[in-house]
């Protein structure tokens, strides 16, 4: 096993390299320099850290999250210089806050950094402690993220601060960031409350010159002390008045409601009014009153700077009074009142929620002022995203009575943005770094889920903990850190079937998944927890965590906690560690994990590729010193012209295309793909002989894809969910074409020709269109309604269908010529049943299957006796036998002269007939029909044996001597083949006939001996299949167009067989069973002519489609592995060697071995 273990010795160097983390961009040792009054360029995180350092902070804690948490990296640098400092990456925000609070309780200064969605995690502790603080200053740095540049929620943290009675400071410039942070500690100590500093996301990534202050070493070196008497009321008398303990007491203190008995204790401790007074004199709050100014601005943070920029552009500095707020909670009330008194309109500009604005409104309501307040509440300032001067400027301009004009014309910007919107989205946005172990781990999961057929019902919860989330596919449910495993448990306990998969990162696991894991084990959930352990907190800057390289924030060695061992200790039912680069191992582990009932934990452990590359010495280093290249001479996407299914299909349907669309759930697109080459989706979805399935490569692994059933699903899906009737195709060509016969060949030709813009009339001898589909296939196999809907679709396109009109009977060729038809396509089918050529065929009760089926189809009352014998081995014989069962015959048997395996009917049809009680007499041939009084009483037969194979490969039947026997029966249905019945047509048109009675036509062009007359379908072949007829319909349309344009009929129509890669099989595929077609129960079937097969359910269709191997486009490396280094080009996948990190996983991902190693010479 090549898995990295968390504690192996070879880690030593890796740990050292990791501990130095020389690649950090957002921290520097300069923050600890003792150089007062020097100007240095600091970024927000450095400035925040510097503020803390100058204030003499002793303990700093953080759980990594948004960019602001780099602040801790900077403090960690300082801790290396000042030994008394303790700086730590905490296991989560609650721990971080409690550690900092504990430190502050001893009288030293402590700080804690949070992302905007981090403070909520600690809120339990924050609320309880915020009014119960000891002598040491405690500062919380919480970064808000308008526009969600770095986090998942645009929340305004100030409401939580107010809720917890914590003052809030909002810095504008980088100098403010440093100075406010330093001052926050003193404020905290003065008001006995934690103080929150609220920088913005953009400030963390900004750099500006900052003048450094002095580092207060003496404060940092304060001697910690803790006396319980400082914290708890010493007298029984006081305790008795407190009822609910110290929190209640302190809260009461804050609101000046301290019980008399405790007043002595709280003497000198400020309440809210004192806090307001303290912030009133806070240096950062600056009121600038301009004489005569009617407009006022109240603003804070970066919004203040945008407002000032807008004011600069407007040239309005002298016309506006400005309150730059440093403290947004509580407000410096006197300053606000002063501004409100001296102005007529006040614009409040702040990031995210109208937090300041609400407080100003509240203050103004208590005052005798008429100043009008504008801001977010009035809709003048947007609530969401980072505020821009282009939003603030026009409002200010309106107040100052002039137009705000930015530097660029709004039209040009709008035009530019318009262009950008229409550019395709780069797939890179949602992908992991090259070499990401998460990409490999996700591929293994997707692969195993697909191969086990779990994809449709499986839910994914959570994400791997990095960037956009590993490419696991659609449907991931994310809530908050640690939420996924409990959500999955909830769904399981609600009764949702199947094992759910929960993804989590490694740092994530320690942060919030451990209680969820215990919950899942204890309460017996059924879940797979898939831990993406890349040994670092990768997304947020590769901070160390308890399961990483055994190193602390300060670079000190520490213990490493193994996630798998924790899971084992939690008694999960299945726990294993895999290396995701080893796909076979990962695949096998996931397979076992997914099939184990209960709680499975799979830890996918492999160092983050970025860290691995850095540990090798450069950010573009190759992880394994080699890279990979796609062999274009072998790659299926580059070489295969047609998938085997497509090549085998007489009309070359893009099977892979529509099956893929089904797998993606886009059934409309799937149907559109089918319709490109097939005007009969619903019909072929039921009765096609599906050569595609015989060619399907999946059949060589287990069972072929149920392509026909998928086609039916697509067609039925539209029927059920509302058919979009097609637009009539505009007629663009003069010529009209006559088509004889409204079967699949004729209607297909008509369909194609109408689409080309010709006028088309289809003449049908029978009363109903459809040919053999109508009169030869029983209702329980192909419901008439389904067929007529599809014919209606073709008619809607503009094909005129005239029924009850036969060439040679109702009209002549001359009639057609006279009516302006320039070409004729004869597709009259083969509807005449062949004779058995045995004595007794004229007896009453002896009938031909085509007649029998046609009479039933027409709704005639057809009497069958108790016993029926059907002669033949094809679909028609099966259909006739099953029809006879439905008409009341209790004993129906089929007599066939060869054995079961030689039957032309498919095994499935035979089985269906058997399920309906049809018996078989194999190796028996009729020799005569026996009758009494002109009625059939029996069929005389002879036993046969199989001899030498004939020209078609099937073994020929030979009679067995002295083996005659008689089957007693009331009816004999002869189903031994059909022939065209075209004597009248031949006479009318002059087309030549073969001795077998079929029309002579060119195999390729379908041209007959008569110019302008073409023939196709069963009329030239004898009984064939539906799809062959459709194919000939297409060919006829091509020939007719060429004929009408005077072009060569043959040119370019013979092509080389396409490259299909039919013999190239993928390796390592799990077998998965083909979906079974649901059907009526046996006892329901023969009660009526209701359709027997019920069609796939949606889940079945998607699961079946997911089995497709995608023999033409393949796309495993691009679509499923989704490595950023493999990009789609027109021909197929291409490796971007500039990006490839050399993880080599793609070589295993390609199941055909077509991604090959490339040695790189350094």
């Amino acid at each position: 096993m090549s898995t990295e273990t968390a504690t192996s010795e070879k880690d030593q160097t890796a740990t050292e390299k990791y501990a130095t983390r020389t690649f950090m961009k957002y921290s520097s040792a300069e923050v600890a320099v003792d150089a007062p009054n020097e100007t240095v360029l600091l970024n927000g995180n450095e400035a925040l850290a510097r503020g803390c350092i100058e204030a003499g902070v002793r303990v700093g804690t953080c759980y990594p999250g948004s960019p602001v948490t780099y602040t801790l990296d900077n403090l960690a640098e300082a801790a290396k210089v000042f030994p008394s400092m303790h700086v730590e990456w905490s296991v989560n925000e609650k721990a971080a806050y409690e550690v900092a609070l504990g430190a502050a309780m001893t009288g030293v200064r402590a700080m804690c950094v949070f992302k905007n969605v981090g403070l909520d995690v600690a809120l339990d502790a924050v609320v309880c402690s915020a009014v119960d603080l000891g002598p040491g200053g405690l500062v919380l740095i919480v970064c808000d993220d308008p526009g969600m540049g770095a986090t998942q929620a645009e929340v305004d943290i100030r409401y939580l601060a107010k809720y917890s009675s914590i003052p809030v400071l909002e810095p504008s410039t980088m100098q403010d960031v440093k100075d406010f942070t330093a001052a926050a500690f003193a404020l905290s100590e003065a008001v006995h409350l934690p103080v929150l500093v609220r920088p913005m996301y953009a400030q963390c990534y900004a750099r500006e010159p900052v003048i450094l202050g002095e580092i207060q070493h003496d404060i940092r070196e304060r001697v910690p002390h803790y006396n319980v008497r400082d914290w708890h009321p010493p007298h029984e008398e006081v305790k008795a008045t407190l009822h609910r303990g110290p929190t209640n007491w302190a809260h009461a203190r804050f609101h000046s409601e301290v019980p008399p008995a405790a007043r002595e204790l709280t003497k000198g401790w400020p309440n809210l009014a004192d806090v307001v007074r303290a912030v009133e004199s806070f240096a950062g709050n600056q009121l600038t009153i301009k004489d005569g100014a009617k407009v006022g601005i109240i603003s804070s943070g970066l919004a203040y700077r945008e407002t000032m920029e807008a004011l600069k552009v407007l040239g309005g500095k002298s016309e506006v009074s400005i309150l730059k707020l440093a403290t947004s909670y509580p407000l410096p009330e006197d300053l606000v009142r002063k501004l409100l008194k001296q102005t007529e309109t006040v614009l409040v500009v702040e990031e995210i929620e109208p937090f300041i604005e609400e407080q100003v409104r509240s203050l103004s309501a208590e005052m005798d002022t008429h100043a009008k307040l504008l801001g977010k509440l009035t809709g003048d300032i947007p609530v969401s995203n980072e505020l821009k001067r282009s939003q603030i400027g026009p409002v200010l301009g309106r107040l100052l009575g002039r137009k705000y004009e930015g530097y660029a014309s709004a039209e040009r910007i709008a035009r530019g943005q318009e262009i950008l919107q229409h550019l395709p989205v780069d797939p890179v946005v949602a992908r992991q770094c090259p070499g990401c172990p998460g990409t490999a781990a996700a591929y293994a999961l997707k692969n195993v889920a697909r191969q086990l057929g779990l994809t449709p019902s499986m839910q994914f919860f959570g994400y791997d903990g990095c960037a956009g989330g590993v490419p696991i596919g659609e449907g991931g449910i994310t809530l908050c850190m640690g939420g996924g495993i409990n959500l999955a448990a909830g769904m399981h306990h609600a009764g949702l079937k199947g094992k759910q998969v929960v993804l989590c990162g490694d740092s994530n696991f320690f942060h919030a998944f451990m209680p969820g894991l215990v919950e899942a084990v204890y309460n017996k959930s059924d879940v797979l927890l898939y831990v993406m352990d890349n040994r670092t907190t990768a997304m947020t800057g590769h901070q160390p965590h308890p399961g990483g390289f055994g190193v602390t924030a300060e670079g000190e060695p520490t213990k490493t906690l193994d996630i798998a061992e924790i899971a084992r200790a939690c008694q999960a039912d299945f726990v294993t560690v895999v290396d995701p680069y080893d796909q076979r191992e990962t695949f096998a582990a996931l397979k076992e994990a997914l099939t184990t009932t209960g709680v499975s934990v799979v830890v996918s452990r492999r160092t983050c590729a970025v860290v691995a590359q850095r540990q090798k010495g450069a950010k573009d280093a190759l992880i394994f010193d080699t890279t990979s290249q796609i062999n274009r001479d072998k790659c299926l996407a580059w070489t295969v012209e047609m998938a085997p299914c497509e090549a085998k299909c007489p009309i070359n349907q893009d099977v892979e295309g529509y099956v893929r669309a089904v797998a993606e759930g886009d059934f409309k697109k799937a149907l559109a793909i089918v319709r490109e080459t097939n005007p009969f989706p619903a019909v072929c979805g039921r009765v096609c002989n599906h050569l595609c399935e015989t060619a399907c490569k999946r059949g060589k692994i287990d069972e072929p894809i149920a392509i026909r059933s998928l086609k039916r699903f697509i067609a039925d899906y539209e029927l059920v969910n509302g058919v979009e009737r097609p637009q009539r195709v505009p007629r663009t060509k003069q010529e009209k074409i006559a088509i004889i016969g409204a079967g699949p060949a004729g209607l297909t030709a008509g369909h194609d020709l109408v689409k080309l813009g010709y006028g088309v009339t289809v003449f049908e001898a029978a009363p109903v269109a459809g040919g053999m589909l109508t009169y030869g296939i029983p209702e329980f196999v192909l419901p008439q309604q389904v067929l007529q809907d599809e014919i209606g679709y073709i008619a809607d396109l503009g094909v005129e269908i005239r029924t009850n009109t036969a060439l040679g009977r109702d009209l002549s060729l001359a009639d057609l010529r006279n009516q302006g038809y320039k070409a004729v396509f004869v597709a009259a089918g083969a509807q005449k049943g062949n004779q058995l050529r045995v004595p007794g065929e004229d007896l009453d009760g002896a009938t031909v299957a085509t007649d029998f089926l046609a009479r039933v189809a027409k709704g005639e009352k057809v009497e069958v006796g108790r016993r029926v014998v059907v002669v033949g081995g094809g679909f028609t014989a099966i259909d006739a036998a099953r029809t006879a069962r439905r008409l009341g015959a209790s004993e129906v048997s089929i007599v066939y002269r060869r054995s079961r395996s030689e039957m032309p009917a498919s095994e499935k049809e035979i089985t269906e007939a058997e399920r309906e009680g049809v018996g078989f007499q194999f190796l028996a041939a009729p020799v005569g029909i026996i009758g009494e009084q002109g009625r059939v009483t029996g069929l005389a037969c002879q036993r046969m044996k199989l001899g030498a194979p004939g020209p078609d490969g099937r073994r020929n039947p030979e009679p067995v001597d002295d083996s005659s026997f008689v089957l007693t029966t009331d009816m004999v249905i002869n189903a031994v083949g059909q022939s065209p019945d075209v004597a009248a047509i031949a006479a009318a048109s002059g087309v030549a006939l073969t001795p077998q009675g079929t029309i002579v036509a060119d195999n390729l062009t379908l041209a007959t001996n008569q110019p302008g007359i073409f023939a196709g379908g069963d009329v030239i072949k004898g009984a064939g299949t539906v799809v062959e007829s459709i194919a000939m319909g297409h060919e006829a349309a091509i020939s007719i167009e060429r004929y009408l344009k005077g072009q060569d009929l043959r040119e370019g129509r013979v092509s080389q067989p396409p490259v299909t890669g039919a013999n190239v099989l993928p390796e390592g595929m799990l077998t998965s069973a083909r979906q079974q077609m649901p059907s009526l129960l046996e006892n329901e079937r023969i009660q009526s002519f209701a359709e027997v097969e019920l069609g796939f359910s949606l889940d079945q269709a998607i699961a079946e489609a997911a089995r497709c191997l995608k023999c033409k486009s393949c796309g495993r490396c691009i679509d499923e592995f989704a490595c950023i280094a493999i990009v789609a080009e027109d021909g197929g996948p291409t490796m971007d060697l500039d990006i490839c990190a050399g993880c080599n996983v793609c070589r295993v991902v390609c199941p055909y071995g077509n991604i090959e190693e490339v040695e790189v010479i350094a």
């Binding site: 020389t22 961009k25 014309s409 040009r412 890179v428 950023i1124």
Partner: protein, 193 residues
């Protein structure tokens, strides 16, 4: 200096945009400028959109450059350069595009599309070629482009100051290579643009 200068650097994460901005802003400060810079790095992702905004001038208030305000744009990847330029560049500003395409999603002709969008002054240089072929290390692309930017003489900074800053920020083994890349960038801009 009289008026402010708004400068943007755009490209892909991993190309060294942040380091470029850091070096340039440090040099600008050393030469007595009032400067503020803000990065828009891609989170974790390699090869995702990244840009940096540098504002220089005594009267600068806001942190970010607004749409249509960038006087100079240095684009390390042309399609990304188009996307940033079409929104941020001034119509009379200068855009310098590196010619090597990494991200394929674009108009197909970034320079032409920028000109069509009203930004007339677009220059294309083969910076990746210098980095990969002349210096043998594509990672020096950022220094080559930094040289090209300084060569425009629009940025109020001394070449020597920039070189000194490059030396300060480079790991010891890469100092000479980075300085050479910077100088070649200046040369290539003077030759090509």
């Amino acid at each position: 200096m009289n008026r402010e200068l708004n400068l943007m650097i755009s490209g892909l994460s991993g190309q060294g945009i942040v380091m470029m901005g850091r070096i340039l802003s440090t040099a600008l400060l050393a030469d007595g400028n009032r400067v503020c810079i803000v990065d828009s790095p891609a989170l974790t992702h390699r090869n995702a959109t990244t840009y940096t905004q540098i504002r220089i001038g005594e009267e600068v208030q806001a942190l970010r450059i607004a749409e249509g305000e960038a006087d100079l744009l240095l684009a390390l990847e042309p399609n990304e350069g188009f996307k940033v330029g079409v929104v941020y560049a001034r119509e009379d500003g200068l855009v310098i595009l590196n010619d090597r395409v990494v991200k394929r999603s674009g108009t197909g002709d970034p320079a032409g599309s920028l000109r069509d969008a009203g930004i007339k002054n677009v220059k294309v240089i083969a910076a990746s070629d210098v980095a990969a072929n002349e210096l043998g290390r594509l990672v020096t692309l950022n220094m080559v482009m930094l040289g090209a930017g300084v060569a425009t003489e629009m940025i109020p900074v001394q070449m020597e100051t920039v070189e000194r800053t490059i030396r300060k920020f480079s790991p010891p083994s890469a100092v000479d290579l980075n300085v050479e890349a910077f100088r070649l960038g200046i040369k290539r801009f003077q030759e090509q643009a």
